[in-house]
Amino acid sequence: MGTLEQIDVPHTQSSSSSSSSIDSNNHPSRTPPPSSPSSSVCRKRTDLSTDLRLGLSISPSSQSQPPFNSTPREESFNWPPIKSILRSTLVGKQSHLSQRPSLFVKVYMEGIPIGRKLNLMAHYSYDGLVKTLGHMFRTTILCPNSQPLNSGNFHVLTYEDQEGDWMMVGDVPWEMFLNSVKRLKITRADRC
């Protein structure tokens, strides 16, 4: 979700006019608009599933996000002067700009003690993940269902899930995988 901003708007006196105007509405004479937020700006920490929705969904839904919160005074200020259709686009996208979601997991290849780290959120499907890992570790990683002609220099990709079990990568939908993966391991095909 976006930021919750508390902005103090100083209220000036509306006493300057000489006529005895009966100002029946409560608008102060001319209050300067909110300047850059001085008080604390707190950003709600969202869970991964929200980040996923933000990062992966076509249209960011606001199911788990509280609406962009501003004081009524700010909203009635209508400043800066940008079209409401543009403003609503920006508010929806604020979290994209302030922090792009990332999910770095450890990746080990069998037989190599030093592991690597990889940002899963930089990929949108298994396809891309497998290709990147293939480049990273200079090997060919097979899809779960394919049979190698000879089990030479081929590997398969496995992952440890939230329950501590080691599973073959590729069986569940991508988003579900992102939710459950803790780390990755590339093992030799003839071992599985």
Partner: protein
């Protein structure tokens, strides 16, 4: 001498006179020119839909083919005009239909367009070719379905920044198979999904399609298929550019784009995965227009990478996350730049997404052809404005918006009077100006003195006294639209030169010091002005006392008298 020519000859000569102002001038020469002009006039522009009645328009111009109408005041864009104010297009369409006007083109801005009016439009004008709706509201995709289904020779359906309710009725599928005439289709502002199959088939049977702007629901693979069917496109709006950069679909798109040699204008990128931007690098060197104002998903560094390829750019709309550094790159790369708009990426300001006077000065040094500017920034200095004025004397439109609206020059803590003064003094062709920052009456003195061609002025949180407004009203002879909010201008300024308002299209004043009594007096003195006061108080029984301050006032010249469709909160005095 001209009076000895037969009418047909004069008509033929008039064919070459195209602009509205020139045609208006022709009609004033003599009675026979007035007659010939009105019978041959095909295009009419009405800047305020309440300035004249539809009947009167049709009476004068029976041969009308193209009509442009504008409704709500400009500040409606920023939610300053309450809901229901007006600007309904239905009575216009009804009148045109009734009189069997051969309407072919309708362009509307800030009007309320109902589905009913779209349906009536689609059924009433057999040769209807072009519908352009900008910042309108009130319609749904059902109305669009009617237009698609019934306008047999439709060439243009251009929806720009409208609020459209989505009814999931597959409006795009309503274009019949016989419709092959489309030249321009823009539905980028629609929020809902469209039938991708129908879209692809429509594109495939529209050989003249030059401009296509998709909404965010059109995914990358569909874009690729569409582009293969429309290699002749000159103007493209991408909806979604999200895909795995290693995937087949993405690679296919990259190859397809290489064949799109005609694209000179690009917009949209409403949903974008940064790695995918590389796909559009090949078309960047051909671009003259790039609109990324809705591409909120692109970071500054990626914007900069993109811009480096855009050497021919003349128009750039971008978000401020490009930063001052990025604007420096624009200045180096886009030396032909004529129009620049920099929008705030976070409405209330984010120090990380920062453009300041530095970026603007860089642009002014690198882009001498710049004539139109809209610039949202964190701060501005007098020195910078003076430099910009010197580097770019050709400004026609200069709109500056400092996010902290009353911020002075941060270096000197002075108001920005001198800076804007330099702008108006140097830019003799200036037609439109928006001010912001800390400003005293002095800036208005400069504007009155130097801005001889100024037609539209927007002021907010500026000035010290009535003198400010008077400098402008007295000095700017060509002023047509004046809009003021939150300034200390009151009755004296309003009433000093009442005749001035008949030379202008409209005046807006909100949160100023004007009273009800003064507005009443003005309305009484000037019967050909409509003076509207918006009374948004909840209490029903509040009567307007003369001494009461007016929260919002909108006045405009009119030949139509008091309008009959005003909502309850609008009091026409």
């Amino acid at each position: 001498m001209m009076n000895y020519f037969p009418d047909e000859v004069i008509e033929h000569i008039f064919d070459y006179v195209v602009s509205h102002r020139d045609r208006n001038a022709l009609s004033l020469v003599c009675k026979s020119w007035y007659r010939i002009e009105r019978c041959t006039r095909q295009r009419v522009f009405i800047g305020n839909c309440y300035s004249i009645t539809p009947e009167r328009l049709i009476q004068r111009f029976p041969g009308l083919k193209s009509l442009t109408l504008k409704g709500k005041p400009h500040f409606a864009d920023f939610s300053l005009v309450p809901y229901g104010w007006g600007g309904f297009v239905y009575p216009w369409i009804e009148a045109l239909a009734k009189r069997r006007v051969g309407l072919e083109e309708l362009r509307l801005k800030r009007m309320v367009v109902s589905d009913e009016s779209l349906e009536l439009l689609s059924r009433s004008f057999t040769n209807f070719k072009s519908l352009v709706l900008v910042s309108c509201e009130g319609f749904t995709t059902d109305g669009l379905a009617a237009v698609a289904a019934n306008c047999r020779y439709l060439r243009e359906l251009d929806l720009q920044e409208n609020e459209v309710e989505d009814h999931k009725g597959q409006w795009l599928s309503c274009f019949p198979d016989s419709c092959t005439s489309l030249v321009s289709l823009n539905f980028a502002c629609l929020k809902g999904e469209v039938s991708l199959g129908a879209l692809e088939r429509l594109v495939a049977r529209s050989p003249n399609l030059k401009s296509l702007k998709l909404n965010r629901s059109v995914p990358l693979d569909a874009l690729q298929r569409i582009l293969t069917r429309a290699p002749q496109l000159a103007d493209l709006g991408i909806g979604s550019l999200v895909h795995d950069p290693e995937s087949e679909a993405y690679i296919k798109l990259k190859n397809t784009i290489l064949k799109c040699k005609s694209i000179t204008s690009l917009s949209g990128l409403l949903e974008v995965a940064p790695h995918c931007l590389a796909a559009i690098y090949p078309i960047c060197p051909n671009l003259t227009s790039l609109n990324l104002s809705y591409a909120a998903g692109i970071q500054g560094s990626d914007l900069i990478k993109l811009i480096r390829h855009c050497v021919k750019l003349q128009r750039l709309w971008i978000m401020d996350c490009i930063g001052d550094k990025g604007l420096g790159v624009v200045a180096q790369t886009c030396t032909d730049l004529q129009e620049l708009r920099v929008f705030p990426s976070v409405p209330f300001g984010n120090p990380a997404a920062n453009v300041t006077e530095v970026g603007l000065v860089a642009i002014s040094m690198g882009c001498p052809k710049l004539h139109s500017l809209l610039y949202f920034c964190h701060q501005m200095t007098n020195a910078a404005l003076i430099t910009v004025a010197k580097n770019c004397p050709n400004f026609i439109r200069f709109r500056l918006c400092i996010l902290d609206a009353t911020k002075p020059d941060p270096d000197t803590m002075q108001p920005l009077d001198e800076g804007f003064g330099a702008i108006v003094q140097s830019c003799r062709r200036l037609r439109r100006l928006s001010l912001s920052g800390q400003l005293t009456d002095q800036v208005f003195l400069y504007i009155g003195m130097y801005a001889e061609k100024l037609e539209m002025l927007s002021i907010a949180f500026a000035g010290d006294s009535d003198k400010g407004m008077l400098y402008v009203l007295n000095g700017c002879k060509k002023l047509r639209k004046l809009e003021i909010r939150d300034c200390p201008f009151g009755d004296m300024a309003l009433l000093t030169d009442v005749g001035k308002y008949e030379t202008m299209r409209s005046l807006w004043m909100s949160s100023c010091e004007v009273t009800v009594g003064a507005c009443k007096l003005l309305a009484k003195k000037m019967p050909r002005l409509n003076v509207e006061i918006f009374n948004e108080n909840e209490q029903e029984d509040c009567s307007l006392e003369d001494g009461q301050r007016v929260e919002k006032m909108y006045l405009y010249r009119t030949l139509a008298g008091k309008r009959k469709d005003a909502p309850e909160y609008v009091w026409t005095l």
